[in-house]
Symmetry: C2
Subunit: 359 residues, 2 copies
């Protein structure tokens, strides 16, 4: 039986973080502000989070002995990414509580399960169908129509593991393009804007949502998030209500990113991420307590902060060479991830530009 972490953890407790990328790094920095220690588990040596964590285990997710040792040396476990193998989670869960819970992880690891879960809550999702074979794909095209997007059920991110089918000729090559793995066909949504809500839930069920941000993607990667989003108060309220419904249904503990499409006929849930989210980075400079600290607060059983923003914000991702462009990096609200090598498409940092708060 895993050790329960329902009482608030005291200052100086050790938070285990699976994954040592920039999200793990920023979680560790936020935890440090609360006097907590972080122990990062990450296969790659010299990862961004290791530079700021109190302790790092460099081992693979198939190294069950290392995972057990890691779990025994921390007070609670959280993660920066959702694609953690079940066997690794099993090993950890035998020793320590994992927050957010396994169900939230399992649901978001599989696009088909996620769609079915969201639909079961009465939320609107794009028309979808599970697809593993050519006849299933043909059936999906017949039902959903074209254009549609074929996405792998597992391990997709930042536009990877996706292919768009525009015309009937695309059908033949589509499955092989994504590697002939179990997939989901999704109807193409004509959206006006893409929004995301960063929401937090405590283990007592308290929910706090940050204001929805408006996202612009370039080449499948988030480019900017602007807050406030250019939508009505009613849409903002609906977006937050959707997030609440999802978090409550999963008995969720921690921060979740909920991506939404705003369409002429209402909000459609695109996907959920059971972790801090790139589209919530604006909170670092525009809120007294940001998404990273909010997540840590939930994970250690502390009361959540209010989530109010004191300023408007535009978050701009610094991708690849952007990081060397002083016109982008400027001087305000700069966050760099300590990655030694600049690569095209690599997230190197981001910058938050603030302006006076509007209602």
């Amino acid at each position: 039986m895993a050790k329960a972490a329902s009482a608030p953890l005291p200052t100086g407790s050790v938070i285990g973080v699976l994954g040592g990328g920039q999200l793990g790094r920023m979680l560790a920095l936020a935890a440090a502000r609360l006097g907590m220690r972080c122990h990062v588990f990450e296969p790659e040596a010299n990862c961004p989070a290791s530079q700021v964590a109190d302790h790092t285990t460099t081992a693979g997710y198939d190294d069950l002995a290392a995972l057990l040792e890691f779990a025994r040396n921390v007070d609670v476990v959280t993660f920066e990414f959702e694609n953690i193998p079940d066997s690794a989670l099993d090993a950890i869960a035998a020793e320590r509580e994992i927050r957010p819970n396994r169900r939230s992880l399992a649901t978001s690891q599989d696009r088909l399960a996620e769609k079915a879960f969201l639909a079961s809550l009465g939320l609107t999702v794009a028309p979808y169908a599970g697809v593993s074979t050519m006849p299933e794909l043909q059936q999906a095209v017949a039902t959903i129509g074209l254009p549609l997007i074929l996405k792998t059920r597992r391990f997709g991110y930042d536009g990877k593991g996706q292919v768009r089918l525009k015309v009937r000729q695309d059908i033949d090559s589509a499955l092989s393009l994504i590697g002939a793995v179990p997939s989901v066909a999704e109807g193409f949504v004509e959206f006006e804007r893409e929004l995301s809500v960063i929401a937090a839930r405590s283990h007592q069920g308290q929910i706090v949502c940050f204001d929805p941000g408006e996202n612009v993607h370039v080449d499948g990667i988030l480019d900017t998030t602007t807050v406030p989003a250019n939508v009505t108060d009613a849409v903002i309220d609906e977006a937050k209500a959707i997030a609440r419904t999802i978090l409550d249904a999963l008995d969720y503990v921690g921060v979740m990113g909920v991506e939404l499409f705003a369409t002429a006929t209402g909000l459609i849930v695109n996907e959920i991420a059971p972790r801090v989210h790139n589209s919530g980075h604006w909170t670092q400079n525009a809120c007294a307590v940001d998404q990273f600290e909010q997540h840590i607060r939930a994970v250690i059983g502390w009361p959540l902060a209010g989530g109010e923003r004191h300023s408007n914000a535009v978050m701009k991702n610094l991708i690849g060479d952007d990081v060397n462009d002083t016109a982008l990096t400027g001087t305000a609200g700069l966050h760099l991830y300590g990655k030694a090598e600049v690569k095209p498409g690599r997230k190197m940092g981001h910058v938050n530009r603030l302006s006076k708060k509007t209602p």
Copy 2:
């Protein structure tokens, strides 16, 4: 000859920090936001900064081999406290540039030298006299009058190494109370408010001042800093001008805390601290770039941020048991230092409460 650090240091550079307390910890966290690594040098094991620094050397300031090794492994050296032995600074300076410079350190390490320096700039200081013997103390009392404060020239902080002389009978015991070390007698200033300016200067001479804060001390330890201070714009401008004068005169690089008394007849400079300062902690939540990042920016040769505040703020220190008082810690702008043991009078953390910006 020390390696010059006049070109901006690239992301991933290593900043050496002398001192591993809460100021070193928050410097390391700020450096991490810019993708920098910190190497902390601190005699005490398991210090607050070591939990978040990329590397820590645990050694004394008399361990010249450790200091040399430390200096050779970093790109530039800064510090979180001013009472660093000259021999340690000599060892480091032979290898790496120290920012702020030695002159700034030497001036602030000696209250008598500091007073003389400030007076030489035409700034108003309290009447003062160097005192090492009883005849000198009697002469100081005759010149300055009572009450006066006798302070050790070196190693005083948070009200330590000070004794107040109110009546003539106090004279006899005063020198022995502070240990009969070289001291300074200072005239007692009837001030209306205590202000501080946190100012930064780049190696190119750019100076940015945060808005002056109004400080309240309890038992000789800072209790709160409130921004904006309840003074006129003219006083704010004068306070910033005083800071500029001091930083320029020292060819200063980094952040300095300048403590001022606002009196009926104008501003009096109380003391300067050549480092980030407790009275600048409010900037962490009320400015896009706080005093810690501003200091790091100066030290690594990056452009300084603008220093504007987006919100009003009250910083409250959490001393000893305060840290367990949830009415104080609340949920907003909490910063804890990772100190394992709560002791009376020990700075455990602080909390920044924000409110809407007023002009």
